[in-house]
């Protein structure tokens, strides 16, 4: 057990935990942030994607000890107050979801991709998100939503 300090959705956070525990389960079980989903447990589906220091990571394969001193952003921290992030607005408007279970991970993955490459082409977005699985087959709308959100986001971090 050790004290881990990091920034979570903009708030300084300190936890005394076993540093080897997966970030996913600390977020979900200890901190009650259930927007981040468990899908595969082996970093091969993307449902648990969160953003650490502006990089998309799979929280099921990230140790809580490894976010020491870092900025962790989850789906719960993406909106500004009541104003949804442009990606969230576009995902809603385009109905870029069905069951919605992969959606938080996809939105966080798209957010990190657009931070790096604000004017990403469709081919680049496809490449960036290809490791995200969506079983309902909402891919076409997800791509449309990301393309619509990109200009509004302007590559600016939350």
């Amino acid at each position: 057990m050790r004290l881990v300090s990091f920034t979570l959705n903009g708030k300084p956070t300190r936890l005394t935990v076993d540093e080897d525990r997966p970030l996913l389960w600390v977020l979900r079980d200890d901190l009650g942030l259930t927007g981040t989903k468990f899908g595969c447990g082996e970093a091969v589906c993307g449902a648990c994607t969160v953003v650490v220091n502006n990089e998309a990571v799979r929280s099921c394969a990230t140790r809580i000890g490894d976010v020491e001193g870092r900025r962790v952003l989850t789906i719960e921290g993406l909106a500004t107050g009541d104003t949804l992030h442009p990606l969230q607005q576009a995902f809603a408007r385009h109905l870029a979801f069905q069951c919605g279970y992969c959606t938080p991970g996809l939105i966080m993955g798209a957010y990190a991709a657009l931070l790096k490459n604000p004017k990403a082409t469709r081919a680049e977005i496809v490449k960036d998100l290809d490791a995200h699985l969506c079983r309902c087959g909402t891919h076409v709308r997800v791509l449309q939503a990301i393309e619509e959100a990109a200009p509004a986001m302007k590559g600016v971090a939350r």
């Binding site: 468990f38 069905q98 919605g100 959606t103 977005i125």
Partner: protein, 721 residues
Amino acid sequence: MRPEDLDNELVVDGPTTFPVDRRDFVKLTASGLLIFFTVDPASALQEGERQPAGRPGYPADVNAYLHIGPDGRVTCFAGKIEMGQGPMTALPQLLAEELDVALGSVDIVLGDTDLCPWDMGTFGSLTIRQFGPVLRQAAAEARAVLLQLAAERLGVHVEALAVKAGVVTATADPKKTVTYAQLTEGRRIERKLEGKPVLKTPKTFTVIGSSPLRRDAIEKVTGRAKYAGDIVPPGGVLHARILRPPAHGATLAQVDTSAAEKIAGVKVVRDGDMVAVLHEHRDVADKALGLVRAEWTRHDPPVDDKTIYDHFLKTAPAGNAVAGAGSVEAGEKLVAEVIDRTYYDSYVAHAPIEPHTAVAAVENGKVTIWAGTQTPFPVKNQVMQALKLPADKVRVITPFVGGGFGGKSATRQGVEAARLAMLTGKPVRVVFSREEEFFYDTFRPAALIRIRAGIDASKAMALWDYKVYCAGERGAAQFYNVANHRTVVTGGWSGSSGDLHPFAIGPWRAPGASSNAFARESHVDVLAAKAGVDPVDFRLRNLTDARMTRVLNTAARKFGWSPKAAPSSRGVGVACGIDADTYVALMAEVAVDKASGHVQVKRVVCAQDMGLVVNPEGALQQIEGSITMGLGYTLTEEMHFKGGEVLDRNFDTYELPRFSSLPRIEAVLIDAQDAPAHGGGEPAIVPVGAVVANAIFDAIGARLERMPMTPARIKEALAKK
């Protein structure tokens, strides 16, 4: 019943478990008033005439479906669940339309066995086509009762009233108004209707046929949407990991849990065959399970994914003829050549991204289960049976479900969580690992289909002799004009592990129909190629069904189909299907890399006649989703196994469709608003395998007779050419 078979035991005993009597219902909804009236469920179903024989009906008491609160808000209750197909949005549209209330004033409660009317489950593209007419009828009758009350209140005849957004107005004197809320407030109303109100017609629709923003949109893009695994009952919850066998059929010989017990906070439960470790943290429970030492006795059947087809041929029972006319022998005399081919399909997993999940809590002897399930009422029955509890001591609540596709009709984790909650006295959460998810999948069965068919001198289909093993009857019967034909079915798409399959199989989005369509539409193309006729033209020549002709022509126009006999090297294909009373024609364009065997589907066009379309945008979502998902069983998805051991355990070997698999998708909905609403969740997935197979043949001149059409199989087919 072996514990192994729990998930296959879809207990259906109908409305006997309809959760509450009138008094209870009033208590539950005490904030508002109920309108009591009776409806004949049979008449409500007449529009669809699809109440399957042997299935119990919906509750006759219409108050079960809706409730008008004193604030004017209307709550719609339905035993369906939301797993992505959109009933949460479409059902309120039906209710608002017939009741004449603002759509925004309607709330909906789904899949709660204490609050909602009994329902068998959410599957079979039945929500709109079968339950929809029941709900519309209920709303129409509620409106009729309310108008009678308004007539008395305002002192005018019912005929002299108009209603809009829950406000009743005397047409001759617009100052005379009363709201539904005013009519119901403070009184309990029980009234029988004289006669049946007539449902609205499409010309007067204002809500049906529109596409309001989905009700789950904001929750789902913000992470606020709650799925079963997100539920934390008061007092917290323990994660349970359950010891699983290494193979289906294996029995536990010995187990040692002592190492797991040494981890602080870990609780070990042994109950009969069940061994579980529990901890407040999932990852600690995972670790504890890894320390459990178990020895198993294997009883693997001597089959694997390569020998399974021979096994089917040897062990399948005699088939049933499900369709036919004329005689096969007469047909054989009419054709120059009997073209005899066998088509194969593989076991396919449901693979929802949300694994099977349930949380159970016991309070005052009553167990509540929050389950990711397509079948909350059958789950309730399973828990009642397993725990020997009466109906009023079990409640199943269904939060959002993270994908089902038929796989969450089986819900073994519901009973498991309930058992463990009873045994430990604490709330318990069971979330399948991905390995458990694959292991306990009720797979779409592998299938083998042999077709003997031929054309006569006029290039018309003259013989069709079809025998399907293990895909079942759905979509098996052909719909072309063939004087002499026969369809024989042996082995269905559902069942527990046994003689035919080493593990459970079950409903997978349009069960069996994709396998049947793959075989049928491939073989029709074989006949077209034999005749030297363009495959669209060949189909049209052999069709008289007006709906099929229409979708085929519509798809051809949208696609810009130019007739040419296959193979034309263009890589274009066509395939048709009928499912859930909906007609679909697909056209596709593919590019095949002959060196690597890789297939890229570049474009898919869909024309669909689904009758009345309640929510067009939702219908398009289902078409897009069906086509995209269908590319998986078509090109990459195949579950590997040896005996009872499932070899695919995660998405590293079991390959789902990805963003890079995505074709351009264009869909056209046929305007058929005067017809009843048919199914929408499944039909478009049915011809995906066939349309890609036909386009591949057109591209490379080699026919793939087995799905998935992997690069290795493409290269093999090219080599055999």
